[in-house]
């Protein structure tokens, strides 16, 4: 896996179910993944690629998504699960492009499902669409008023919307706001309520995740993200990229000149 991550090994794409679980930080993505794993294993082989941010200063990362996965302590299930933490490294999105290769490799090795847990993502963070073929957006209570549900962005790409922490005050209002907003959409995704800590809704979510329909309207958006990611890759993989960053920060190299050097 490290060989793929470091770009030393090329992987051909493999068809299969790749589900991204995305949403704002602290909304309960890791705990939901744990709940899903408890229900889908050992009957399915499930891989989790958990992405956490790389420090833009040091290039290091603290990868802590594993801590939430209590399912790994269950010996009857742990053998059906593979969990790999991934740092975003130089990529700008919530998923580095190498995740596509990692997911393909896992699918080619008999995994039934690859779950990508993204970095806690904001409203316009849609890069996961370039890699995953299904997207679950997790929302939670107390995340702003009804206007938030009307805004364009990530929610429009969701194949399923999960409102987590449904036991907490305000969750029902979020469900209502989202429902009202989505009634104006032609192929609205389903919305379900979960409470990862109490276990509510997790059976339903786990069942749905294996049979999610793809929204037709999001196809163009996926293609767009794939194109953007491929283009960004050319930039990041440019051997001069890091050296040019150094010159910009230390020697005052101007942007136009940096772009010219990159295009040489």
């Amino acid at each position: 896996m490290s060989a793929i991550e470091n770009g030393e090994l090329e992987v051909t794409d493999t068809d299969g179910l790749i589900v991204a679980i995305t949403g704002p930080p602290g909304v309960g993505k890791s705990c939901l993944v744990d709940g899903i794993l408890h229900r889908l294993t050992p009957n399915n082989l499930v891989a989790v690629l958990a992405v956490d941010p790389t420090s833009p200063i040091s290039g290091g990362a603290l990868l802590g998504d594993r801590i939430r996965l209590s399912v790994l302590d269950d010996k009857t299930k742990a053998d059906s699960i593979y969990v790999r933490s991934i740092a975003t490294r130089s990529s700008s999105g919530s998923i580095p492009s190498i995740v596509r290769g990692l997911a393909s490799h896992l699918l080619a090795n008999n995994f039934d499902l690859v779950i990508i847990e993204t970095v806690g993502a904001g409203q316009s963070e849609m890069r996961c669409a370039a890699i995953a073929n299904r997207i679950i957006v997790v929302e939670g209570p107390a995340r702003g008023d009804g206007i938030q549900a009307e805004k364009a962005g990530l929610l429009e790409l969701a194949d399923l919307i999960v409102v987590n922490k449904s036991d907490m005050e305000g969750a029902e209002r979020v469900v209502n706001d989202l429902t009202v907003s989505l009634t104006l959409t032609d192929d609205a995704p389903p919305i379900i309520r979960t409470s990862a800590t109490k276990g509510d809704g997790l059976d339903e979510l786990s069942e749905m995740i294996l049979h999610l329909d793809e929204r037709v309207t999001s196809r163009r958006a996926r293609a767009r993200q794939q194109l953007l990611m491929a283009h960004e890759n050319i930039l990041i993989l440019n051997p001069a990229f890091e050296a040019i960053l150094d010159r910009m920060s230390e020697e005052g190299l101007v942007l136009e000149e940096a772009l010219r050097l990159l295009n040489e």
Partner: protein, 145 residues
Amino acid sequence: MGERQRIVIAKPGLDGHDRGAKVVARALRDGGHEVIYTGLRRTPDQIIRTVLDEDARFVGLSSLSGAHSHLFPKVCELLREAGLGDVVVFGGGIIPESDRPPLFAAGVRAIFGPGTPSSEILEFVNFASERDCGVGSEDDWHWGE
């Protein structure tokens, strides 16, 4: 700065204090490494599983409970059994001088006690990454000898 390493920081055994482990994890992160933190009260088996899944080259064990003389060699032994002999093991916590020689003999390559500057741990990682001193190697070197 040396090459970026993937490092598991683990808390084996029944020990609820992880301030030190978190400080070390943070220092390694700020040193440009990718650190996977396991959380508290892990068994040696769980730690080996994490190292395997995460392709880690280093594993740092933190113990303040006094059980290091049992747990650290156990982790070294299981790593070798799992075919992970290239993984470098280091330790930290409250570990008396007199307990250290047997740990080094078991394959632990460094012990960092309280007050160790984080720069020293980073130096160790950079140095050890250049040297064939995984837990399965014949090398009997340890840091600070």
